[in-house]
């Protein structure tokens, strides 16, 4: 996929990541709630599910999920900072820093998980 020329700058990419992670989280959320609600109706099914999650592939998927959450959160915090704190120019470094933090956090999670 070619990124349109007028979009080739860091802030646009930051927006793109934020949006993609937002949608992904929104799609995942009902599933997550559903699984947890199983606890009420059928705890054994939940256990089965949790066993399934120790599968390495699923682990990677989970890692991805936490990564998305972290990306989205720090991206969102970056936006909140931009919008509510009267500072400005350092946008690009903020965008980069939030990505780095997200990466760090999710990697920690991943390392703990394996």
């Amino acid at each position: 996929m070619k990124i349109h020329p007028h979009r080739q700058h860091p802030l646009w990419l930051a927006f793109f990541l934020h949006r993609v992670s937002g949608i992904a989280l929104a799609l995942f959320l009902p599933a997550h709630f559903y699984v947890l609600a199983l606890a009420l109706t059928d705890p054994s099914q939940l256990d089965g599910f949790l066993a399934w999650t120790s599968n390495p592939l699923v682990k990677i998927a989970e890692y991805g999920l936490v990564f998305l959450l972290a990306v989205h959160m720090f991206g969102g915090l970056r936006l909140l900072a931009l919008e509510f704190l009267p500072w400005s120019a350092r946008q690009k470094s903020l965008a980069a820093a939030s990505l780095a933090l997200a990466f760090f956090l999710s990697t920690t999670f991943f390392l703990q998980a394996v």
């Binding site: 949608i23 559903y34 947890l36 606890a39 009420l40 939940l46 256990d47 936490v66 959450l69 959160m73």
Partner: protein
């Protein structure tokens, strides 16, 4: 297509969630160390008002936040009708809140 009110709701819910997400991830990292089981999770959460409040707030905030977020994306892509948008936002928000609170109830009610 959002005005000041929806904007404020989305930003406020985001601010509420930020610490909760951090907390959630921390719990997960901690929990995962011992390998998770349903019993273990439930053992911790069942009957705990604190956990109920923690996840209850989270569920409400995320419902509001995600519903508005999805609304914006829909409005900018495929759904230009204002009434349909309003309806859908409400439906998504309510749906998520119901599912979310059910889940919280499931894991915390004793």
């Amino acid at each position: 297509m959002i005005g000041l009110k929806l904007y404020m709701l989305q930003r406020l819910s985001a601010m509420v969630m930020a610490p909760l997400v951090l907390g959630h991830i921390a719990v997960m990292i901690y929990a995962i160390q011992g390998g998770l089981s349903a019993a273990e999770i439930l053992g911790r959460t069942k009957g705990s008002i604190v956990w109920a409040l923690f996840y209850g707030t989270f569920a409400l905030a995320v419902s509001i936040h995600a519903a508005i977020g999805v609304r914006v994306i829909l409005a900018e892509t495929i759904l230009k009708n204002r009434h349909a948008l309003d309806g859908l936002t409400l439906a998504i928000g309510a749906g998520l809140a119901f599912m979310g609170l059910s889940a919280v109830y499931a894991v915390t009610a004793s």
